[in-house]
């Protein structure tokens, strides 16, 4: 009877587990703006998917990977500051996506679902995609973890010690693109970055090692997903924003606890 709730919970938890380590890396490497850019780009992905009557999720993944690719190339060229490039890509793709969505003949798009997520309508197949993504991304992060930390600390030092810095950075961007594209259904375009960075920021205070921070962040994100779904159920609020509100409340509690201790 409540199948859709279980599916929503499963999808949310899948995203939350990845959000821990990935969000920690986003915080450490200051990639929040990059995450936002990918999220905005996924709107363009949806539009393109509809335009060409193509699978939406696949179109989103492709557009996100393309944006990541463009950024990797631009960073190597060093013609413009990275945040300028991100600003162009982010708002350019957002605007293009919005324009394209209105131009598609006969397309009735639920803009709210795109912007804030639509977790209650996930299908079994979509849950499977979320978990497939989660397993793949976690496996890749597990493999690259020491290198990712080494380049977070000091890129040149890592390079001298034999880390293939450019490859590792490119892979991290592509992985983040994958996470954002797949998570769109759960929390929507505007809130994906929040689900990545708020749990990680909350976990920072309690962690002594990078791994503790990543695991704790996963825990916080999972709590936020559960609390958000519950709130949505009892208070009839939209799920995506409820999840982010839960995470934010948790973060504020951490801040308060920290203030009292200090």
């Amino acid at each position: 009877m409540y199948d859709f709730l279980y599916l929503a919970l499963l999808a949310g938890l899948g995203v939350a587990i990845v959000a821990g380590p990935m969000g920690s890396l986003v915080v450490w490497q200051r990639m929040a703006y990059f995450g936002d850019t990918l999220a905005h780009g996924s709107l363009l992905g949806i539009a393109l998917g509809m335009w060409f009557s193509f699978s939406n999720s696949l179109a989103v993944v492709i557009v996100c990977l393309l944006i990541a690719g463009v950024l990797i190339v631009f960073e190597r060229q060093r013609l413009l500051a990275t945040d300028t490039v991100l600003g162009i890509l982010s708002h350019g793709s957002l605007a293009l996506g919005l324009v394209a969505l209105t131009l598609i003949p006969g397309a009735r798009t639920d803009m709210e679902a795109l912007l804030f997520g639509d977790i209650l309508t996930v299908t079994t197949a979509e849950v499977a995609v979320v978990w497939l993504m989660a397993v793949c991304v976690l496996a890749a992060l597990w493999r690259l973890w020491p290198s990712l930390l080494a380049i977070t600390v000091h890129e040149d030092l890592a390079r001298v010690e034999g880390v293939r810095v450019d490859v590792v950075k490119a892979v991290l961007k592509l992985l983040l693109a994958l996470v954002v594209a797949v998570s769109m259904k759960v929390v929507g375009v505007l809130l994906i970055t929040a689900l990545l960075i708020i749990p990680a920021a909350s976990a920072r205070h309690f962690a002594k090692t990078p791994e503790q921070m990543a695991l704790l962040a996963s825990g916080v994100a999972m709590l936020a997903v559960c609390a958000g779904l519950a709130a949505s159920w009892w208070l009839n609020t939209p799920v995506g924003p409820s999840i982010v509100v839960s995470a934010s409340l948790f973060f504020m509690l951490v801040l308060l606890a920290r203030g009292r201790r200090a």
């Binding site: 930390l149 080494a150 600390v153 040149d156 001298v160 990680a200 920021a201 002594k208 090692t209």
Partner: protein
């Protein structure tokens, strides 16, 4: 004595602006070479070429097949959002815990092994970076401004430690430095860089070189000119009571002899 790395006529330009021109540099085991020069002289570029992070546009770089570089970067900024303990920081270079402890003991900060990196003082941070470079079992140490952010007494102690490590490991050392007094005392050879090599030689030779005087002023040159021995320079430069109370006269000549018998 095999040459660890040799640059012949190395040049590098960025956006059509020459940063380095026709630089010759040779690093050998057991010798400390210090790179000095004003800002924008190309010191960092030269270090990156030595490290293999940059390729020169012109000239040649020859590396010994046995070359193992331990690199101490100029400044480490660890984002405060990254929780990291000293031991973990060292494990990036070598995962072995006993080795990490030994390296920390060697640089005199073994008690900090479980401390968060973000809480270290300037001197402790530099020592931790040095420990990480040592963990690579290097035969060449590349130290980019190793005493940056360290007070004068601490600087002297660090230079002494670097000299000791050179004697123990018989490794070559390439150091980059801004400050002239202390580094002159701690080095075998000085290379004065201002896009090209202005002058090079022993600290005594370089300090009276007209090009050096033109770059750094006569005061420095005159000052070093008075002394012809390393530890004389040391205690002469540091006039603080702490500096003179921890004399190196007994240590440095001894370790110097030690290094010569090693070679």
């Amino acid at each position: 004595m095999t040459t660890l790395i040799e640059l012949q006529g190395a040049g590098k330009s960025f956006a059509n602006r020459a940063v380095l021109q026709a630089v010759n540099l040779s690093l050998v085991p057991g010798r400390i070479v210090t790179l000095i020069g004003p800002n924008g002289a190309g010191k960092t570029t030269l270090v990156k070429i030595v490290l293999g992070l940059l390729q020169p546009d012109t000239g040649r770089v020859q590396r010994s097949v046995q070359l193992r570089v331990g690199y101490m970067p100029q400044k480490l900024h660890i984002d405060p959002t990254l929780p990291l303990q000293v031991e973990r920081f060292l494990q990036f270079a070598n995962g072995d815990s006993p080795a990490c402890l030994a390296a920390l003991e060697r640089v005199g900060i073994a008690h900090l092994i479980k401390q968060p990196v973000s809480g270290l003082s300037g001197g402790e941070m530099q020592r931790m970076l040095l420990a990480r470079a040592l963990l690579r079992k290097p035969n060449l140490l590349v130290l980019d401004e190793p005493v940056q952010g360290v007070d004068v007494t601490g600087q002297e102690a660090l230079y002494q430690l670097i000299g000791e490590l050179r004697d123990e490991l018989n490794c070559g050392i390439l150091m980059v430095s801004h400050d002239l007094h202390l580094v002159m005392a701690a080095t075998d050879e000085v290379v004065c860089l201002n896009q090209h090599v202005c002058c090079h030689g022993t600290p005594q030779q370089v300090s009276v070189d007209p090009e050096f005087v033109a770059l750094f002023g006569a005061k420095t040159a005159l000052y070093t000119h008075h002394h012809d021995h390393e530890h004389d320079l040391h205690s002469g430069v540091v006039n603080s009571p702490v500096g003179s109370s921890c004399h190196h006269d007994s240590v440095q000549p001894g370790s110097k002899e030690g290094s010569q018998s090693d070679v």
